[in-house]
């Protein structure tokens, strides 16, 4: 009984829009609540795949800053989520992305995809992440001991995204 009550509470505190929930967040990210609410929102889904990206503590990184271009960011992420929804016949999708300054361990991005079968949920989360990495309107820099450094996608990130064009 207790668990059921708490799960409902967590869901009640957070209302997701369905089938798309896209957010650009200026601070914090309620990963646990979002995941619980997402799972509850799609009771008919057989499989839910989630990706959580966090700031890595290595390479002497003190902080990470994500900036964006507001007139393009949200609408670009909406288009991306909508195309994933259609391409992979999803029940629903969530794509949340932080902007601002974060420290190691902080959540940067959360993507969740719900589908009747697991293959589509995996592919959709993968597809959305590949595009958020190198085809969404964000710019990332790291603060190390000696100052700020802009981060460009790795060559692997571009190749990952190109996989989806060949299909």
């Amino acid at each position: 009984m207790k668990l059921l009550c708490c799960r409902r509470l967590a869901v009640a505190r957070l209302t997701l829009s369905t089938p798309l929930d896209v957010r650009v967040l200026a601070k914090g990210m309620s990963v646990g609540e979002a995941s619980a609410a997402f799972s509850a929102a799609y009771p008919e889904a057989g499989g839910i795949v989630s990706f959580l990206g966090k700031v890595r503590p290595g390479n002497d990184v003190r902080a990470l800053e994500l900036t964006h271009y507001e007139p393009l960011t949200k609408s670009g992420m909406d288009d991306l989520a909508r195309s994933a929804l259609e391409r992979f016949a999803l029940d629903g999708i969530l794509a949340w992305h932080r902007i601002g300054v974060m420290v190691p361990g902080d959540a940067i991005v959360l993507v969740a995809a719900a589908a009747p079968h697991r293959r589509n949920a995996f592919d959709a989360a993968d597809f959305v992440m590949d595009h958020l990495k190198s085809a969404a309107w964000f710019w990332k820099r790291e603060r190390r001991a000696e100052g700020w450094h802009w981060i460009e996608p790795r060559e692997a990130d571009y190749q990952d995204r190109q996989r989806w064009e060949r299909r």
Binding site: G53, L66, T67, Y69, P71, L72, H97, I108, V109, M129, L132, K133, S134, A135, A136, W137, F138, W139, K140, R141, W150, I151, E152, P153
Partner: protein
């Protein structure tokens, strides 16, 4: 009224600022003059996109910004 040029990501470092206001209208040649030689060199590369009025231009050289428009200079992105 004027045209606002917004510098994103590393271009803001190069421009020593996030925005620049210039008199409109502004075409591609006018933009290159307005931002100075360092930025001009950067934004001529294929990897830099240009948006005007909230839309990314398919051909940035066709830029025709009017008074009140915002031009965004968009270097290679990196999210996630």
């Amino acid at each position: 009224m004027s045209v606002t040029i917004v510098f994103l990501g590393p271009l803001a470092d190069l421009a020593n600022g996030h925005e620049l206001e210039v008199a409109g209208p502004l075409d591609w040649a006018g933009l290159l003059r307005a931002v100075g030689p360092d930025i001009a060199r950067e934004i001529q590369a294929d990897r830099v996109n240009v948006a005007c009025g909230g839309s990314v231009l398919a051909d940035k050289k066709s830029l025709q910004a009017r008074d009140g428009d915002e031009i965004a200079l968009l270097p290679p992105v990196s999210g996630g």
